[in-house]
């Protein structure tokens, strides 16, 4: 099939030189219809994921799709990417009806997609992942790739370690590689499904600028996010989905004319039908920290791809306290969490859980003692995709009563437990037998949160608990985290979202290159000041912070 978009390749050198100045779109392209959906409906067993939606994405625009978890955004992306087929209605390309029956076809029509969930091969190096799928006669040589990556790095702050084994990188790093891979392709439509959920604030800004420049070149960009300010800042046009239906649109002119606050207000109204109060954070209640629940003394951790062997980590979390761990993704946060949970060897030092030495205790033993760990990798680590929802709620207690009796499963008990969690945590799923991989990202997260909080928890380690959640669900999750702490549980909150850390934490520790480079008392009433103080530590400016 012809490659229809060589013209707008983001990688022609002229473009690289004059990105900002040379913003002269191909005549007429700015308003032409690049891709569109015409009365598309897509059903899954038990849900109508996309319900009679018509949308058109124009060349030269950044079109933002908003909607709660499970609204149907990723399903639309799947159809445009050729992974899913509409049940009725159809797609259009440049105004003509078109059928995209495979990812290959979609790509060859110039539609390049960054999926919500990492699609890289973990056992290949980054370089191999980047060239995977290119025809052999067009495959980039190593030096070409290095050149282009260097350009990306410069333009865009993407970190792409070509020789690293992909599976050893953090999710944030993998996401950067996915974006790089999409940008490396020649395309006329670029789809980013929650591609900013793991980037640093600077990374997000750079991506925003980059999208603008690509749109100015005549590309059509479809940008999915849960952050309304990003939608306002980067978008030309906003469409809001609600339970699979198109709930409303904000056109180009009204979006540009509105102030940020009123635009966000509009989006909230479309998304939640007037319940925008959900977005205002609840006031921080008074909590009194109790005795130390989790104490790490001079821990040395086998960090794998992150060099942590030379740093000793000490921290203590008290009951009723939230200790935030801030830092740029990939600086050892995940390794720390895994070592605390017992999944990663502790080389030296001592870890106490509620006064008991658990340095060498197994995952199961720690869980029995009340330690819970909510991983950030919901799909590949936190759950088994093809198992039903019900089984996934008990996978951390296989064999334990009341769900098993003498090793024999009791399906009715498990199903009942699952239904209870589904109800209490407002999980959207047709029933408890659906394979968990069919749930939307936010709903999986809610279910796993429920799993970790059931039973008697004493210490909960949250790793990026709200990434990928819509505003309503983020607010709910944060409220739950706060409630967890209020009930006397010690909470360790790892997050790359500074606002979240500042909103919730009592104290904030900052991790940088595998060590804790500072701990601050939080002052959530002065978020701006906290942001700069934490930010300085995050970029490795401990000295400045100490002086300030």
């Amino acid at each position: 099939m012809p490659n229809q978009c060589a013209r707008s390749s983001p990688w022609q050198s002229s473009e690289l030189e004059g990105l900002a100045r040379n913003a002269d779109p191909v005549a007429g392209a700015a308003n032409s219809n690049a891709v569109g959906l015409a009365s598309v409906t897509k059903r899954f067993p038990g849900v109508v994921a996309v319900d009679d939606v018509s949308l058109s994405f124009r060349a030269g625009e950044v079109h933002v799709l908003l909607g709660e978890n499970g609204a149907g955004k990723s399903t639309i992306v799947g159809m445009l990417a050729g992974v899913l087929q509409p049940d009725s209605g159809g797609l259009t390309l440049a105004g003509e009806p078109v059928q995209l029956s495979s990812p290959f076809e979609s790509l060859s029509f110039g539609i390049s997609t960054v999926f919500q969930h990492a699609m890289l091969v973990p056992t290949l190096t980054v370089f191999e992942n980047l060239v995977l799928g290119d025809a052999w006669w067009r495959r980039s040589s190593r030096s070409q790739m290095e050149e282009r990556i260097a350009e990306l790095q410069e333009l865009f702050g993407l970190q792409v370690p070509l020789d690293a084994m992909t599976g050893e990188l953090s999710l944030g790093e993998q996401q950067q590689i996915e974006i790089a891979r999409a940008l490396l392709r020649d395309c006329s439509v670029l789809i980013l499904d929650e591609a900013t959920s793991m980037l640093t604030p600077q990374g997000v800004d750079e991506l925003g600028g980059r999208m603008r420049r690509l749109a100015d070149r005549g590309l059509s960009i479809i940008f999915i996010t849960h952050k309304l300010t990003e939608a306002y800042r980067f978008g030309d046009r906003v469409s809001v989905l609600k339970l699979g239906r198109l709930a409303g649109e904000i056109g180009k002119d009204s979006l540009k004319a509105a102030s940020e606050a009123s635009a966000v207000e509009d989006m909230l109204r479309l998304m939640f039908g007037g319940e925008e109060s959900a977005a205002t954070p609840a006031p921080q209640p008074d909590r009194t920290a109790g005795e130390v629940r989790l104490a790490a003394a001079n821990l040395r951790i086998d960090g794998g791809s992150v060099n942590m062997a030379h740093s000793e980590i000490s921290l203590a979390v008290r009951s009723g306290e939230i200790l935030g761990i801030a830092g740029i993704d990939g600086n050892g946060q995940k390794q720390l969490a895994e070592a605390l949970a017992g999944q990663r060897p502790i080389l030296a030092g001592r870890l106490d859980l509620d006064g008991e030495d658990v340095t060498d205790a197994s995952v199961g033993r720690r869980r029995a003692l009340g330690l819970r760990y909510l991983t950030d990798d919901r799909l590949d680590e936190g759950s088994v995709g093809m198992f039903p929802v019900a089984d996934n709620t008990v996978l951390k207690e296989i064999g334990a009563p009341p769900f098993w009796s003498r090793g024999i499963e009791r399906p009715a008990r498990i199903a009942e437990h699952a239904r209870d969690l589904i109800k209490r945590f407002a999980v959207r799923t047709p029933n408890e037998f659906t394979p968990i991989s069919n749930l939307s990202g936010g709903n999986i997260q809610k279910l796993l949160l429920g799993r970790e909080l059931s039973g008697t928890a004493k210490v909960v380690v949250f790793n990026k608990p709200t990434y990928g959640l819509d505003m309503q669900n983020s607010v709910d999750s944060r409220r739950r985290i706060r409630a967890v702490a209020n009930s006397g549980i010690a909470v360790l909150l790892i997050s790359t979202d500074l606002d979240e850390i500042i909103e919730l934490s009592d104290r904030i520790a900052v991790m940088d290159r595998g060590r804790i480079c500072g701990v601050l008392e939080n002052n959530s009433s002065a978020p701006r000041e906290m942001r700069t103080r934490v930010g300085r530590l995050m970029v490795g400016d401990a000295a400045m912070e100490a002086a300030a």
């Binding site: 897509k42 059903r43 899954f44 067993p45 992974v83 899913l84 087929q85 049940d87 949970a341 017992g342 999944q343 197994s362 995952v363 199961g364 869980r367 760990y373 991983t375 990798d377 590949d380 680590e381 936190g382 759950s383 088994v384 995709g385 093809m386 198992f387 039903p388 019900a390 089984d391 996978l395 951390k396 296989i398 064999g399 098993w404 090793g407 024999i408 499963e409 399906p411 037998f433 394979p435």
Partner: protein
């Protein structure tokens, strides 16, 4: 694993709407390839000048419809079922134990070495029991190397089990010729367990009661994998190793346990063939059942009952074509053509199924 299997696992088939609508296509896609293979093989038979209807009719009559043929077919399923039980455990735990033939042969040699030696000294049932036990242990021991390499070094078990199977076949041979040789005969073979002391026949047929052992083994494995904590642990490891360690499962230990169980069943299969049917091991004997059972277990999508059905079908085919080979001059290896084309059509059907499921979501 397919959607269908996830459904079977949840075990709630009957309570859900549309079970038939969902299983119809899968049934079709299992029977379809079998029919297509029959047609395709007919063409080949026609090409070599044999009337396919006569051939199939003969196979059916000799393998299924005659009393003697049927009991031979049923007897033949016993070792196949035990092998299948071991393969189901391994495959569902994500371990590709392709070394069952070596484990089978060594188990067979172990039981053939022990049973005739202690026969007469101990009560008959105890002789049989010890023969089976030793065969199971020897089979399991033969998987220790691949198991440890996989569990602690991550070495791909497909390669190591294939290598140990070659070694195992040679070792079994060497043992027969050098160590356990029956001095009483000129044929190189082990000593023979007398017919009355072998596994009892079922009622007044000639069917070996190994059949019952095999059936129980497959059904027990099926239930254990679907309904017990241990089975869920193995399935979790099989589905996603990272998740399994996150859940606190000891992946290396479960891997070793999987190998031991799987290879142990292969050893038992060897014993059932010796203690139930042959009575001894002849040098250079290697029926290579394992290689045939592996595709059948796949064809059945690791489902216990479906595996039993397919293995029975396959035994009928084997026994029937053995007679047909003698009578119609079609070589016995023609069964391989039939089975191979079945697998090819199965692959095609599977591909289509995936395609359609994706379209349907």
């Amino acid at each position: 694993m397919s959607d269908a299997e996830a459904d079977l696992e949840s075990g709630e088939l009957l309570h859900r709407p549309g079970a038939l609508a969902r299983y119809g296509p899968i049934l079709l896609l299992t029977l379809g390839p079998i029919l297509a293979a029959l047609v395709c093989s007919s063409l080949i038979l026609l090409a070599v000048g044999v009337d396919p209807l006569a051939y199939y009719g003969y196979v059916l009559r000799r393998g299924l419809l005659s009393g003697l043929g049927l009991s031979q077919s049923l007897t033949r399923t016993a070792p196949l079922l035990l092998l299948a039980a071991g393969l189901i455990v391994a495959f569902r735990a994500g371990i590709w134990n392709l070394g069952v033939d070596g484990q089978f042969l060594l188990g067979a040699v172990a039981s053939a070495a022990l049973a005739p030696a202690i026969h007469g000294l101990l009560p008959g049932w105890l002789v049989l029991l010890l023969g089976f036990a030793l065969a199971g242990v020897v089979g399991a021991l033969w998987s220790v190397l691949p198991a440890l390499l996989k569990a602690y070094q991550g070495v791909n078990e497909i390669i190591t089990t294939l290598m140990t199977t070659f070694l195992g076949i040679s070792l079994a041979n060497a043992l027969v010729k050098l160590v356990f040789l029956d001095p009483g005969t000129t044929v190189p073979q082990t000593r023979t367990l007398p017919v009355p002391d072998r596994l009892p026949r079922l009622f007044d047929t000639t069917v070996s009661s190994g059949l019952i052992i095999g059936l129980i083994a497959v059904l027990a494995v099926h239930v254990a994998m679907n309904r017990t904590a241990f089975g869920l642990r193995l399935r979790t490891v099989g589905a996603n190793v990272r998740a399994a360690s996150h859940f606190g499962l000891s992946v290396p230990q479960l891997t070793v346990a999987t190998f031991a169980l799987s290879a142990g069943f292969a050893g038992l299969a060897g014993a059932s063939e010796i203690l139930g049917v042959n009575g001894n091991v002849r040098a250079d004997w290697n029926p290579a059942y394992g290689l045939m059972v592996i595709p059948l277990v796949f064809l059945a999508r690791f489902h216990g009952v479906a595996t039993i059905a397919l293995i029975f079908l396959y035994s009928v085919l084997l026994i029937g074509s053995e007679s047909a080979a003698r009578r119609l001059g079609v070589p016995q290896t023609f069964t391989l053509v039939l089975v191979a084309s079945m697998l090819i059509f199965f692959g095609i059907a599977e591909h289509h199924l995936h395609h359609r499921m994706r379209k349907a979501g």
